[in-house]
């Protein structure tokens, strides 16, 4: 198709034609076009359908405020719903489709809703669809949901990358129109660090869309020259295609740079978009103003648009939207559209409401064909193919209200101005501050920059600004045309009409928030940028109050909708969070280990051997062989904290419920750490390596919170204790070697004597291995076997696992993973993550005797509250099935035999369940009410989720070696 509506002029590159399709039909445009301007150049006015009534709609704006021209952009996994055609920079090969229409944009079946509009008033759905009760979910809602939404997601993974970053500046200037550029020049020349962000791909703002001159040059040329000068300044950073989305606390702004949205596919390694967090000392909002329409009957037909947009398409993009144009305005700015279009040879009729003339209706289903005008002479119909409407301009103050500051009304421009109590450090300049002429915008921009810089101690030289038009705002407010019974649209996307506001008023939804929520006014993808003030004005008239008395509209971030991908940045897929690898990871990978995520860590879960087809075979072998001979396990992930200082022992006495200051040098003790509320926070062993030197281990999960807690105790609670802390979790590769042959195995590697006499149970010390490598040895056991943990500098962790495996060969030693570790700790009756659930006390765990009441330790006092020590509370028990063949399930609840499985009979639950290959059946730990007195009792373990129940017997939680003979062996 040819670009029939293309006229001369504009800032498009006619030497670079670009091909694109809309609803499958091929068109061409030019570099510098938006999708909207290119479609309009090709005579396409119908671009979408409205949300509720499926009314045919065209573009009404030339910017990000667009409510109507939403398309699905691109295809396949890159499909992008609800994209505003007015901000899509045209590229070669662009594909766009209309949305929310079926079977086609021109003939949309759901346009039936428009015929039934009298039933679909604001809030009608709250009053009906209630009978019969079951029908809402079965009948009504599915119909409504099918009709809901605008565009669609692809349901495929987004293939693009996104970046995030941080920028720092003295002054952020939001918007690069005349005010923003003048501010930037002033600031740039002062030497301050300046960032200028503009959502457009071409900086200049309205200067690119107007015909008036700045000091003899066209506005666009002046803008281009100024941008070039700014670009040459090393202290100025220009961010075109960058939308500042929100003002956050303490001068932090969010901004989205669209790096690759103007090309078909991002270059390799390059992001589609970047989220910049901009840290500013000052910011200036120079975001211009947004024109608003005047509501009249059937004011939503394709071809009826904002007057300023109409002339922007003509001036910037060389597009005549229509050949017979009407301009309906209540202010002088609308007249500019008429004069600019006439200068391009287009016939324009002006309906100026200030003379008493009004447009009262329009005709044309898929595009406006005529309007009805009422003036002193009466009513007449004018044939048109485009209408420009100007109801005045609203300062684009969105960001100034992000901290919930209330905008203030200004009668002179009949619009709200930015709140005086906006975000700290933010001022407004130019049209965003109500300075509407070009001259005012330039001088105000420069002045606001100078003021901000002066606050920061910079001296700004006076800017040499060109002379420019300085026309006053001449407006006589007209918000909506009072006429017949038809509908006049306020919120075009959500189909909110003047009538809806009237109904809301009638039903007492009069506060602005009620109005908004009841009618959905301003809730569409444009967030009411063009419509909100009109809605307020209608309500004001109905309540007999002024607009500011009726309320203000404040905006929330983001300024325009933001792709969720860019807010996630690179934290998606496998890179959602970093991965921590253990020192034996390389070796384990070579063995074909199965890994499991444990927090950020990847740990070996089990190590299958040839011939093993189920995980149980591997785990059973690892357990049995460890108990029979020896097993090796990487336990590096346990937190390690180096605690030194002359008061280190006293410190440990306060953070552990049990006593540590009495621990001898070269000894290890199991410690129980409570939260101040008396619940168990963590457990682990702490070794006394020297007089003033301890090494604490924490659980893998709590390494970070425990360290934080210890620092709190050290710095905040007892600031004069001589204690120093540092984490050494990563510094040491630590392996557990367990089983009857553990000593023999280790002795092959350890250079010193580790006989029971030389290195008894719960001993620790610094040793060397493999001919002189410094290492640490701890004789501790989680499995219940004779066991050691040996630590070597992490860089030798890989070599050490290989040494251990080699040394273990003669004993048929195995390497075991977290599953076998779990089996053995349950067999031994040690509590772990499932028991350390933050809801349990030491008493619950059967460790009440460890809580020393002779000293003031964290959590001791509150652990003694009546409800926590009362009879009948949960106590740790062991559980075995009466029939060994029956498997148990963790999370099953204890129910007395013969009682129904209801809450009254809920006796507790099975916390951890494993299959014990040693015993040949399932075993479990559990919390059972009064469990310490119920050994031998028979109950049921009920799992209602699976519909199973198992007869069980309550036993000691120590299934293996309750006397601890093995570990002392």
């Amino acid at each position: 198709m040819t670009q029939d509506n293309r006229i001369s002029g504009g800032q498009i590159d006619r030497s670079r034609p670009l091909r694109f399709t809309f609803d499958g039909i091929p068109y061409t445009g030019h570099a510098g076009d938006t999708l909207a301007s290119a479609l309009l150049a090709n005579g396409v006015k119908l671009m979408g359908r409205s949300f509720k009534y499926h009314r045919p709609r065209g573009v009404i704006s030339a910017g990000s405020e667009e409510p109507n021209a939403l398309v699905e952009l691109r295809s396949g996994a890159r499909q992008e719903p609800n994209t505003r055609a007015t901000v899509v920079e045209l590229f070669d090969g662009l594909q766009a489709r209309s949305q929310n229409a079926w079977p086609s944009l021109k003939f949309d079946a759901l346009a039936i809703n428009d015929r039934l509009n009298t039933f679909f008033t604001a809030g009608f759905y709250y009053k009906t669809f209630m009978w019969p009760a079951a029908f809402w979910e079965k009948v009504y809602e599915p119909i409504i949901r099918r009709a809901a939404g605008l565009g669609s997601l692809s349901k495929q993974d987004d293939p693009d990358e996104y970046d995030k970053g941080f920028l720092h500046c003295d002054l952020l200037i939001i918007g690069a129109g005349p005010a923003g550029l003048a501010a930037a020049l002033t600031a740039g020349r002062s030497g301050a660090r300046v960032i200028v962000a503009d959502e457009d791909f071409r900086m200049g703002g309205r200067l690119n869309a107007e015909t008036f001159e700045l000091g003899g040059a066209s506005g666009a040329d002046w803008a281009a020259r100024t941008v070039a000068e700014l670009a040459s300044m090393p202290n100025v950073r220009l961010l075109p295609r960058t939308t500042v989305i929100g003002a956050f606390d303490h001068g932090i702004y969010g901004a989205v740079e669209r790096v690759s949205d103007h090309i078909a596919v991002p270059a390799a390694g390059k992001p589609r978009q970047i989220l910049w967090r901009i840290y500013t000392r000052r910011a200036i909002l120079a975001a211009g103003a947004i024109e608003r329409p005047i509501a009249f009957e059937n004011n939503d037909r394709p071809g009826i648009m904002l007057a300023g947009a109409l002339r922007a398409y003509a001036n910037r993009w060389g597009v005549a939207v229509g050949k017979r144009v009407a301009v309906f305005t209540n202010n002088d700015d609308g007249l500019r559209t008429a004069s600019d279009l006439r200068a391009k040879g287009i016939s324009v009729e002006v309906i100026d409401s200030r003379t008493g003339a009004e447009v009262i209706d329009s005709v044309g289903r898929l595009g406006v064909k005529s309007i009805t005008v009422r003036d002193a002479q009466g009513t007449r119909t004018i044939a048109v193919d485009a209408v420009g409407v100007s109801g005045g301009w609203n300062p684009n103050l969105s960001i100034s209200s992000h901290h919930r500051g209330r905008p203030v009304w200004d009668d002179a421009i009949a619009a709200f101005l930015p709140a005086p109590d906006g975000p700290a450090g933010l001022t407004s300049a130019g049209a965003a501050a109500g300075q509407m002429s070009t001259h005012a915008a330039l001088t105000h921009g420069a002045a606001q920059a100078a003021a901000a810089l002066s606050d920061l101690g910079f001296t700004a030289p006076a800017a040499d600004l060109p002379p420019a038009e300085d026309a006053p705002v001449s407006i006589k407010p007209l918000w909506f045309v009072h006429s017949g019974k038809g509908r006049a649209w306020i919120d075009q996307q959500n189909d909110v009409t003047v009538k809806d506001v009237k109904l809301a008023h009638q039903e007492n939804f009069r506060s602005v928030e009620h109005l908004k929520r009841y009618t959905t006014l301003g809730m569409a993808t444009d967030q009411g940028k063009t419509g909100n003030v009109i809605g307020l004005a209608v309500m004001a008239e109905l309540t007999g109050q002024s607009i500011p008395q009726t309320g203000t509209t404040i905006y929330r971030p983001p300024y325009t909708p933001v792709a969720m991908g860019v807010l996630a940045g690179r934290s998606s897929g496998k890179d959602f969070r970093p991965t921590r690898l253990t020192p034996s990871h390389k070796w384990a990978s070579e063995q074909g280990a199965v890994f499991v995520e444990v927090g950020m860590w990847l740990r070996g879960q089990w190590f299958p051997r040839a011939g093993e087809t189920t995980w149980r075979q591997s785990v059973d072998r690892e357990v049995l062989q460890t108990r029979k001979s020896a097993g090796i396990c990487d336990v590096t992930t346990l937190g390690k904290i180096d605690i030194q200082g002359t008061d280190a022992g006293a410190f440990l006495d306060r953070v552990y419920a049990n006593t540590f200051s009495t621990l001898g040098v070269g000894k290890v003790r199991y410690g129980l750490m409570l939260r101040e509320d008396g619940m168990v926070m963590d457990d682990g062993t702490t070794a006394r390596m020297g007089q003033n030197e301890y090494v604490m281990t924490t659980t893998t999960a709590n390494a970070v919170p425990v360290f934080r807690h210890l620092e709190y105790c050290r710095q905040v609670l007892w600031p004069d204790l001589d204690v120093q802390l540092i984490s050494t979790t990563e510094a040491w590769a630590q392996y557990s070697v367990a089983g009857p042959n553990a000593r023999k195995l280790l002795q092959k590697l350890v250079d010193q004597d580790i006989s029971d006499a030389a290195f008894p149970y719960m001993a620790c010390g610094e040793i060397t291995v493999c001919g002189g490598l410094r290492a640490r040895l701890f004789r501790i056991s989680f499995s219940g076997e004779l066991a050691y943990e040996i630590a070597v500098p992490t860089r030798y962790g890989d070599a050490m696992i290989r040494e251990l495996v080699a040394a273990g060969q003669e004993f048929d030693a195995v390497v075991y993973g977290t599953e076998a570790l779990g089996v053995m700790r349950v067999e031994k009756g040690h509590v772990a993550g499932n028991e350390l659930n933050g809801q349990s006390t030491a008493l619950n765990m059967g460790l009440g005797k460890m809580v020393s009441k002779k000293k003031d330790a964290i959590g001791v006092v509150l652990s003694q509250r009546e409800g926590l020590v009362a009879e009948g509370g949960y106590r740790l028990v062991g559980v075995k099935p009466v029939d060994p063949a029956k498997p148990l399930t963790a999370g099953s609840h204890f129910v007395a035999t013969g009682k129904p499985a209801t809450a009254e009979n809920d006796g507790g639950w099975l916390t951890s369940v494993v299959y014990s290959p040693h015993l040949g059946h399932s075993i479990a730990l559990g919390y059972l009410k009064n469990g310490d007195t119920r050994r031998g009792e028979k109950l049921r373990a009920v799992n209602l989720l699976a519909g199973t129940e198992v007869d069980i017997e309550i036993v000691s939680p120590h299934f293996i070696d309750p006397e601890g003979e093995r570990l002392r062996g």
């Binding site: 710095q715 905040v716 003031d856 006092v861």
Partner: protein, 95 residues
């Protein structure tokens, strides 16, 4: 938010972990008479003011210092930032 660290200057609050009211430094003596009542008050009751709030932040991703930050809970404006250890000592906490 930005916390003006007394040693390191302005740092993003993302580097910090928040604990709560700085009154959490006034841990009662667990061996004293009436300790239980004192601990219940200490652990569970808060002024929770709408306005100036002295609160504990931990520079977990920085220098691991605990800070007392005075911040307005309505505007989020931060007026003072001190090292918690100094504040604690001034308040008479020692060993």
């Amino acid at each position: 938010m930005i916390i003006n660290h007394p040693l390191l200057g302005p740092r993003d609050s993302q580097e910090f972990v928040y604990l709560g009211d700085a009154a959490l430094m006034n841990r009662p003596d667990g061996m004293a008479e009436g300790a239980l009542a004192a601990f219940i008050d200490f652990a569970y009751l808060r002024d929770n003011p709408a306005g100036l709030h002295r609160e504990l932040w931990y520079h977990e991703q920085g220098d691991r210092s605990w800070l007392v930050v005075t911040r307005n809970t309505v505007t989020h404006e931060i007026t003072t930032v001190e090292l918690a250890r100094d504040v604690a000592r001034k308040a008479g906490r020692s060993k």
